[in-house]
């Protein structure tokens, strides 16, 4: 297992290096100039050129790239052009929000997706199954930004049960900040619950057709024990995979949701950085997000061994 983990980490380093190179090149190939954005639309080319010089953007691309690589190997993500702080600090400031939002939305997606998926499989072909599958299809088809705007209209504006946007006032405690994340988490969780539901249902149906389940039933075990103890444990590997994938997808989905709800998370940071061409932030944030993707994949792979003793690394 240890050898496997070390090998995966080495592979991760290579992936990260490639990501760093690709992101650097894409950021620079795409037109747009942070100096022009910073100075406003009235700025003249002379003003822009002067600021580019101060920011070091007039250096040859290769020089900039080598400087960037030098930073990365020192685990330094550089300094944001706009935020007046190191990229690592900016990311750290936003990570609480995005982490909480992802956990809450994954939680919502799992709380809906897994039990309803199991129930749907257990009642295959019945009214519950058909309704669940139909609703799942609907939930998967609705974009999270639309769900977000609808939730804002009914639960925030009309009833004032939740705040419309933001991450709480400056003196907000953790619970208050979480309250600001309830609507975004629902908006993000609902479409993803559909995916988990369908995977859970399919996986359960597959497992429940096996002989050992039939044997368990024949032994006279209660249906709940058969489904939850015998079938579910063996159905967990595909379900874990989809939860892992969903978590990764949600980090990307958070970009839209954070924009709709005015949340200062990592997604919002990336969008703003792209619009402003804040190269160090684009590069640093995408590098960190890619690392999280890879780590989630690794975690899911390791969890296979936990839920299924037959899996060995």
């Amino acid at each position: 297992m240890l050898v496997y983990i070390v090998r995966r980490f080495a592979g991760m380093m290579v992936v990260m290096l490639l990501v760093a190179m690709v992101v650097f090149l894409i950021a620079r190939v795409v037109p747009g100039d942070p100096a022009a954005v910073m100075l406003g639309s009235s700025a003249t080319p002379e003003d822009i050129a002067a600021l580019r010089g101060r920011l070091g953007l007039d250096e040859p691309l290769l020089t900039q790239f080598l400087l960037y690589l030098g930073q990365i190997v020192r685990f330094d993500l550089g300094e944001s052009i706009f935020l007046n702080r190191p990229v690592a600090q900016a990311l750290a400031e936003r990570s609480e929000l995005t982490g909480l939002l992802t956990m809450m939305s994954v939680g919502i997606a799992m709380l809906i997706g897994v039990p309803v998926g199991i129930l749907s499989a257990a009642k295959r072909g019945g009214l519950i199954d058909q309704t669940a599958v139909g609703l799942a299809m609907l939930a998967a088809s609705i974009p999270s930004f639309w769900i977000g705007l609808t939730l804002i209209k009914y639960l925030a504006v009309d009833h004032a049960w939740f705040p419309v946007a933001g991450y709480g006032p400056p003196d907000a405690d953790l619970l208050e900040r979480m309250r600001h994340l309830v609507l975004p988490a629902i908006a993000l969780g609902i479409p993803n619950s559909a995916l988990i539901l369908r995977f859970t249902r399919t996986s359960m149906l597959d497992v429940m057709s096996h002989d050992y389940v039939r044997t368990a039933r024949a032994k006279g075990l209660p249906p709940l024990v058969v489904v939850l103890k015998h079938a579910l444990r063996n159905a967990m590997i595909p379900i874990l995979t989809v939860i892992g994938l969903t978590t990764a997808v949600m980090i990307a989905g958070a970009i839209v949701t954070e924009t709709v709800f005015g949340l200062p998370g990592v997604g919002n940071l990336i969008v703003s950085a792209v619009l402003r061409r804040d190269y160090p932030v684009i590069q640093g944030a995408l590098l960190v997000v890619s690392a999280i993707y890879v780590l989630i994949n690794l975690t899911v792979d390791l969890l296979y061994a936990v839920v299924d003793p037959r899996v060995r690394y």
Binding site: V30, P31, G32, D33, P34, A36, V37, M38, L39, G40, S41, S42, A43, T44, P45, E46, D47, I48, L51, R54, F82, L83, R85, A90, E93, R94, L149, I152, K153, A156, V157, H159, A160, W161, P163, V164, A165, G166, Y167, G168, P169, P170, D171, A172, D173, L174, L175, E176, R179, V182, T259, V260, F261, G262, P264, N268, L269, S272, L275, R276
Partner: protein, 524 residues
Amino acid sequence: MTGITRRLFNTALGTTLAAGGLSSGILGSWTTPALAQQGGASVVTVATIGEPPTLDPVGTTSDLVSIITQHMFETLFTFDGEWKLAPLVASALPQVSADGKTYTIPLRSGVTFHDGSTVTADDVVASLDHWTKASPRGKTVAPLVESIAAKGADAVVIALKEPFAPLTALLAMNNGAAAIVPKSVIDGPGALKSLIGTGPYKLLEHKPDQYIRLVRHDGYASPAGTPSGYAGSRKANIGEVRFVPVPNAATRVSGVLAGQYQFADSLPAETLPRIKGAAGVKPVIVKPFGFPLMIMNTKTGVMANPKVRQAVLAALEPNDMLLAGLGDPAFVQAEGSIYAQGTPYYDAASAKPYSDHAAGKAAELLKAAGYKGEPIRIMTSVQYEFLYKMSMVAQAQLEMAGFKVDLQVLDWATLLQRRGDDKGWDAFFTYHTFVPEPSLITVLNPSYPGWWDSPAKKEALAAFNREMDPAARKTKWVALQTLFYSEVPSVKVGEFYNLAASSDKLTGYTPTPWPFFWNTDLKG
């Protein structure tokens, strides 16, 4: 709320979260909802269109930066309700020598910075010197400046190489601002080392993309006089002004309707009925606000031919473009005069070609220009949706007149970069916020993309800038506008107004292009 109260709902939610296994330590802090705190008497929360690129008001002309920083930084002069010059850190308007080259500016005594120190003539000299090096506006003045020096402890003298009438307006602008700051925070032409000004509010905290907190500057020394526009007495009645970036316009509208924000800026025109129909909120329409422009490349390519540009002007029907862009006639005015009605530089006669549109006339002009069907590359951006819609209409109208149009839809950052390359485009769409001094209009700057700098324009602009007498300046401005409509460096599409919304509880608010919150109060 009917049926279920908010308190009951919060209790239920708290219980649910508790049942979900949250620690008792966290639950112990479940007390005050954010909405109640934000609605507190001393905090005004303002939803802005986004995060400002900087909080240093000197180096940028961004409107968003000026909206926020004008509460923190002050200039020697400002504008009153009729856009006339008024003193701010200065104690009176400047004494100008007979030859128009020497400005003696008396300073108010007892003005303090946010760090408690008193403003001295040395600070003012250092600030103005910094402005000439760091500000896009200051840099336009710099070549004309002979010297900036203190005259005793309470006056400053600016000596110019030649008369330059726009100087005082440039000194009064709140963006690219000649902000008065302590000498100690100036670091050559770079950004200020510390954000310390003399304004009625000072910076408490800045969390990028989350909030900017400005709190009352208790040692503030206000100018005297009845408040008028940005001039006169300034009272910081509100304890804290909090600017919250909310880039999504629909969220800004929802937030102000829900009472989370007491003011929301730049809202879509189509939301006016929703705001009008809501309890506790009132719409704010800002007139004058700005004008969309189709800037043409007068330096290179097919548009360098003035006849082609005249054909563009004849081909476009501004009213269609305005309605397509803004949707509601209440927010637009098909107005050719660069300055709108009611402002000192308004002149309709010299803007007559604005309304002489006809596809036939455009086709004739194109023929006379020898146009051979070269594609006209027009850059536009969906980030400003109203500009994008206008450019779509322009494309159709130009094609009807015989132009071949290559409409390039770009993101704003790309457009800003590409417009610097005179060989890369023929026209682009942008907008200009109202400015009280004509020489601040970007298209008059020969360095600004479009590069309008014909000998006639150069002469007319120089004559306008040299003229010190207000009445004679108006005549010279009319000459400049006449030239604008014969050489057509840009098409002014018309006037458009800004929609904002404010809570009923916010009183004393004056609608202006750059909203400010001194002299406002919160009821209840």
